[in-house]
């Protein structure tokens, strides 16, 4: 085979095999029925094309040559038989279509659900290394090509193969010599069309790439449209766009051109084949080679025309199948990602005042070691011992970190961007695992606590608030799903979110769309604080929770924050040092090390880095 110039989709058999295991698994019996139905339907259509010839040779021609009264009874009998065959063909077609729906849609649902639930089990690291757009396209583009392949290409392929084989056998039975002629012309036809299809395929790949680039550019520019206006940058933005748009139009033209000419090429080559068969067949018949009758040639011609259609279909779909398989492969790659490992055995259980485990919801919680049954009261004592950590193996971003937070203490982390503040909190809730050292929660090594239970005991309020498309009520309830409406209102009141929520058009029932875009940053933050309040965790992590809020709003938010911090162990990361002044311990981080620690008063007296930061003689970045 000739080497292609551009990257082109290739048929990936191992992915295909795996896909079939999804289809075959639950639907083996149905698929068998579908296969039988397709067989029937294809045979009925083959019988149809053979029938015409038989009709002419065995019924019409004798009638024509016969003199005297003609009887159409035998003809009607034959037509009745054909009616039965056709009817069964039509029913078989319907049945196979109908069964294929459940198989295809069911398989897609299985794969979709598997993708999503597997994605939920992946570690944060996985999301760090991939762009959101790439992940999204697994669910949109890749799943969509897969849908087309499963619902259209695969059934078409099956039916085409059956038809081709049936017709091929019928051809062989009629004349093996002419079959060879057809085979030769088919080979020629396929080699031409596959070349065109491959060209089209590689241009389609190129088109997808430029389309992605252009659409990305459009998105960025439209998002910054107001800045473009302010800087009267419109002309420049148009010029840059034109370059991309031209390139895209070029690639799109080539991709569509080759795809468009595929059908006329294949269709018309089949006429050429028709003529060649007629001439060769006529020559054979007249020179007595191969004992061919003229009637046989006519029926052979009909067969050779019928075989082209399914072959064309197979050829034109090969490309889309190859592209769909490339997408499917990416989907399987997601499914093959290593899940977050959890070897923890300690779980959170409700206990009575007397520290006895209970199924009732009580105010007290305890850690229960599932192996020993030992109960440890949940207090919110968190201690890091000589912790080292790096996102990549040989580059430590945290070195020798030791922090102890007594229950109810407020620990502040201060330092420049990249000093490792957020990283510390990411280790406490085990988004990442330590390189060295230990973290203990109420005296238990957090590696021995089940991740779900560990995270349930930690509340998090982040700088970037993420809300979900649901009502305000549901967004706050996200903190604890079994919270009553009353509890949600209470949390909103405590966090000061209540005021603005009651001014929303539908109050708590207001629907938030696209990440709560209709709300201001401060309002979003208040909802996220209420959300953490509803969860009512003993330990809280506040990561720059107020930094993008203006001072006016911050005052409002601060009251909510104070309510939230009441009686909990709190780790707070803040840019504005005024907000952490009353912390029990302030840790100043630099390059992954703690360089100073103490209360605000002590650190100010020390006149070290904290003092410099606070008095503004050194700038935080």
């Amino acid at each position: 085979m000739k080497k292609g110039t551009a990257k082109r989709p290739k048929l990936d058999l191992s992915t295909l095999k795996r896909l079939f295991s999804y289809i075959l698994g639950p639907y083996k019996a149905r698929l068998l029925v579908v296969f039988v139905c397709i067989l029937f339907s294809a045979l009925a259509s083959v019988a149809g094309s053979l029938f015409l010839r038989i009709l002419i040779d065995s019924y019409i021609t004798p009638l024509v040559s016969k003199t005297g009264p003609v009887s159409f009874a035998p003809l009607l009998g034959a037509l009745a038989v054909m009616l039965l065959i056709y009817a069964s063909g039509v029913i078989a077609t319907y049945l196979s279509n109908r069964l294929m729906i459940t198989i295809a849609q069911g398989t897609l649902k299985t794969i979709r659900d598997a993708m999503f639930s597997h994605m939920q089990s992946l570690p944060i690291r996985y999301f760090d290394t991939r762009s959101h757009g790439d992940l999204m396209s697994l669910y949109t583009n890749d799943a969509d090509t897969l849908r087309q392949m499963v619902t259209q290409s695969i059934p078409n392929f099956l039916s085409s193969i059956v038809t081709v084989i049936a017709i091929f056998l019928a051809m062989l039975a009629t004349s093996w010599q002419l079959t060879i002629v057809v085979l030769v012309s088919l080979t020629a036809m396929l080699s031409i069309s596959s070349r065109v299809a491959r060209k089209s395929g590689s241009y389609f790949v190129a088109q997808q790439k430029t389309l992605g680039k252009t659409n990305g550019y459009i998105e960025e520019m439209i998002n910054g449209q107001k800045v473009i206006k302010v800087f009267t940058h419109e002309q420049k933005a148009k010029q840059q766009f034109d370059v991309l748009n031209e390139e895209l139009a070029g690639d799109a033209f080539n991709a569509h051109r080759f795809a468009n000419i595929l059908m006329p090429i294949m269709g018309n080559i089949s006429y050429i084949q028709y003529v060649v068969v007629a001439i060769v067949g006529g020559f054979f018949a007249l020179s007595g080679i191969g004992a061919l009758t003229l009637g046989a040639i006519a029926s052979f011609l009909q067969l050779s025309r019928t075989i082209n259609m399914p072959i064309n279909q197979m050829a034109s779909q090969l490309n889309s199948v190859a592209m769909a398989l490339a997408g499917t492969k990416r989907i399987f790659a997601l499914l093959d990602e290593q899940k977050e490992i959890d070897e923890g055995t300690a779980t959170l259980v409700n206990v009575t005042e007397a520290m006895e485990e209970t199924d009732q919801r009580t105010e007290r919680w305890a850690w229960k070691d599932e192996r020993t049954g030992k109960l440890t009261s949940l207090e919110g004592h968190v201690a890091l011992h000589e912790v080292d950590f790096g996102y990549v193996a040989d580059k430590l971003v945290l070195k020798d970190i030791s922090i102890e937070a007594q229950p109810g203490q407020k620990i502040a982390l201060v330092g420049a961007t990249g000093a490792g503040k957020t990283t510390i909190t990411n280790l406490i809730n085990r988004f990442y695992d330590l390189a060295d050292g230990k973290i203990r929660y109420d005296g238990i090594n957090i590696n021995r606590i089940r991740k779900d239970d560990l995270r349930r005991s930690l509340g998090v309020v982040l700088q970037d608030v993420h809300l979900f498309s649901a009502t305000v009520l549901e967004n706050i309830r996200y903190g604890r799903l079994d919270a009553t409406d009353e509890e949600v209102f209470e949390a909103a009141r405590l966090s000061n979110a209540d005021t603005f929520i009651s001014h929303l058009p539908q109050g708590y029932q207001t629907d938030l769309s696209s990440d709560g875009a209709s709300l201001s940053q401060g309002q979003r933050q208040l909802i996220s604080i209420a959300r953490a309040l509803v969860a009512n965790p003993p330990v809280l992590i506040l990561d720059e929770a107020t930094s993008s809020i203006d001072t006016h709003t911050e005052e409002v938010v601060q009251k909510g924050m104070d309510a939230l911090m009441e009686g909990r162990t709190v780790f707070v990361i803040a840019h504005r040092l005024s907000t952490i002044r009353n912390a029990d311990v302030i840790m100043v981080l630099e390059d992954g090390r703690i360089i100073e620690r103490g209360t605000h008063k002590a650190l100010m007296e020390e006149k070290g880095q904290y003092w410099r930061l606070y008095t503004g003689s050194f700038e935080l970045e």
């Binding site: 009709l55 639930s117 139009a249 799109a252 569509h256 006429y271 006519a298 840019h575």
Partner: protein, 576 residues
């Protein structure tokens, strides 16, 4: 209908016309070929005459080659026309958005504009290709095949009187039943995508609250909905091919029987019978293709309309016939200015504002959230037009300048600011394309950005990700200020542009602005009184009205509210 969209065809009229021409010619050949096949069968094969076979075969080959040529040309021009059209539409949309005013942009949301420029354009491109090829091919094929069949034998074509209505009515009911379900499915797909997108973005929230199972359930129910709706719709569509097959088979049987009678009575040949059947299948196929075209076009109609809306959007900021390009100085005057975003009286957000700011002044603007601080300053570079009254800069109404020269002289740092993917230097040069390295350094020094830029290994050549996501909030704000400074504007507006910058740096920026841009009128919207204390003029806004105006000392003496605010903020800072 779709007036503006149709205009975008432009230079693609010629390839469009050629596509239609070649499609029609191709159809003519496609219809002729079965006719020739009948001759080949009757006079050649059935008669056992090799020279006749060769004669008709050669003619057939000739016709097939011409059909091939027409087909290839039709495909070529169809690709040219549809991709060219898509290019024009995309450009038309993009250019239209570039010319949009802020009010126009507000009317569509950003994300809906993006969809219109991406997905909708692709849909319209496919629709256009379908219109020029299949939507032309099918009816022409239908008419020609019908004509040919009729000319072979008009009695036999009576079969169509039954067959065509049967198929047409069947297809009509299928489409009518399935179409609404499909549109619903596409909506549900959007819902599914939203769930996925939110979960990817908020993965840390989901994990922190241990909501994986909850989200899986949420996704599962949407996924189930798609499964059910899709299955329901496809169960209807499943009748499609049996319907087509059934009609075709019934036709064949009827034609066979009637044809046999005609052949026996010598008014038809067997070759003609075969051709007749070929035409029958062509007619029925065309009918089905037409129904498909109809469905696809209705689907893309929505896209076409959304594009039309953007192209037909009326611009609400219009330049005067011969606009001024020179601005005398940086003085700003507001005369009885009323303003609303919707141009409706009851949603007004500025009421009878009067201001007189001499050139070179520093003005602080204070006020609670929602007091229309941003609305006020946005009128100066004419991002919006006033409802009543007038805004003057350099002594002339802003509407008398060309937008380009007005905005060149008015540097504005927006509250919601954006940096673009590219190097720091490229981003800065938005302010002035030809800025020298010294000028870049000058602007960055004033904006207090120089030290952090120099701390990057690549300095000014550091690559910024989209929206500067690899910078901190404070760094982004300082770059945005530097970018605006490079314009060397006569008027500089900072709309809460230092909210993420610490107090010390904030005051350094103000200090540098004062000494380096003496001639420039500076308007600063701020949250902290300390940021505007030393301004020449402080404006207190509340509910769209100027509540008080004066220097710090004046306001302390005359405005109790200012006094109160100042004391509270000072107390807090002393505590700090």
């Amino acid at each position: 209908m779709l007036k503006h969209l149709r205009k975008q065809v432009g230079e693609n009229k010629r390839p469009t016309f050629l596509t239609i021409l070649f499609v029609v010619l191709e159809v003519v050949m496609d219809v002729t070929i079965p006719f020739l096949m009948a001759f080949l069968l009757d006079r050649g094969i059935d008669a056992g005459n090799l020279s006749e076979i060769i004669k008709w075969g050669a003619l057939l080959l000739f016709c097939a080659s011409i059909a091939l040529l027409f087909g290839v040309l039709a495909g070529h021009f169809a690709a040219r026309a549809s991709t060219g059209f898509a290019k024009n539409v995309r450009r038309g949309l993009y250019y239209a958005v570039q010319d949009f005013s802020f009010a126009n942009i507000d009317r569509f949301s950003t994300s809906s504009l993006v969809t219109r420029l991406t997905t909708d354009v692709t849909n319209v491109q496919h629709a256009y290709q379908m219109l020029t090829r299949i939507a032309v091919r099918s009816p022409v094929m239908l008419v020609f095949s019908f004509f040919m069949a009729f000319s072979i034998n008009n009695t036999l074509s009576l079969v169509y009187l039954v067959a065509i209505p049967l198929l047409a009515v069947g297809l009509f009911f299928l489409i009518r039943a399935a179409y609404p379900i499909f549109t619903r499915v596409f909506k549900t797909y959007d819902k599914l995508n939203t769930v996925v997108q939110e979960n990817i973005r908020a993965v840390r929230v989901v994990k922190s609250f241990v909501r994986e199972q909850y989200e899986i359930k949420k996704f599962g129910s949407v996924s189930q909905e798609i499964f059910q709706d899709f299955s329901k719709a496809e169960k209807i569509v499943a009748f499609n091919s049996p319907l087509m097959q059934g009609t075709m088979y019934l036709c064949i049987l009827a034609i066979s029987y009637l044809g046999a009678r005609l052949i026996v009575s010598s008014s038809m040949t067997t070759g003609q019978l075969m051709s007749f059947i070929t035409y029958t299948s062509q007619i029925l196929m065309s009918l089905m293709m037409l129904s498909m075209v109809f469905v696809m076009l209705t689907i893309s109609k929505a896209s076409a309309q959304r594009i039309e809306e953007v192209l037909g959007e009326k611009l609400d900021l219009v330049e005067q016939a011969s606009p001024k390009t020179f601005m005398k100085d940086g003085s700003v005057t507001f005369e009885h200015v009323d303003f609303s975003y919707t141009k409706t009286e009851d949603k007004r957000c500025l009421f009878d504002v009067n201001l007189d700011i001499p050139s070179g002044c520093t003005v602080g603007i204070l006020g609670p959230t929602g007091s229309a601080k941003t609305s006020l300053v946005q009128l100066i570079p004419r991002l919006y037009d006033v409802d009543n009254g007038s805004v003057k800069v350099g002594g002339e109404d802003v509407r008398s300048y060309s937008l380009e020269s007005l905005r060149k002289e008015v540097g504005m740092v927006l509250q919601k600011n954006v940096l673009f993917s590219g190097t720091i230097e490229e981003n800065l040069r938005w302010g002035n394309e030809d800025a020298s390295e010294e000028e870049l350094g000058w602007a960055c020094r004033i904006a207090q950005a120089e030290s952090f830029i120099n701390s990057f290994p690549l300095g000014y050549k550091t690559y910024l990700e989209q929206d500067g996501s690899n910078l901190s909030g404070g760094q982004k704000q300082r770059l945005c200020i530097a970018r605006a400074l490079l314009k060397r504007p006569k008027i500089l507006i900072l709309d809460d542009s230092t909210s993420a910058v610490d107090t010390k740096t904030d005051s350094k920026i103000r200090e540098a602005l004062k000494t380096e841009l003496k001639e420039t009128t500076k308007l600063i919207i701020a949250q902290r009184i300390s940021s505007v204390m030393d301004s020449d003029l402080i404006i207190m806004l509340d509910d769209g009205k100027i509540q008080a105006m004066g220097t710090h000392e004046e306001l302390l003496a005359t405005c109790p509210r200012y006094n109160h605010m100042f004391e509270r903020q000072m107390r807090k800072e002393e505590q700090a």
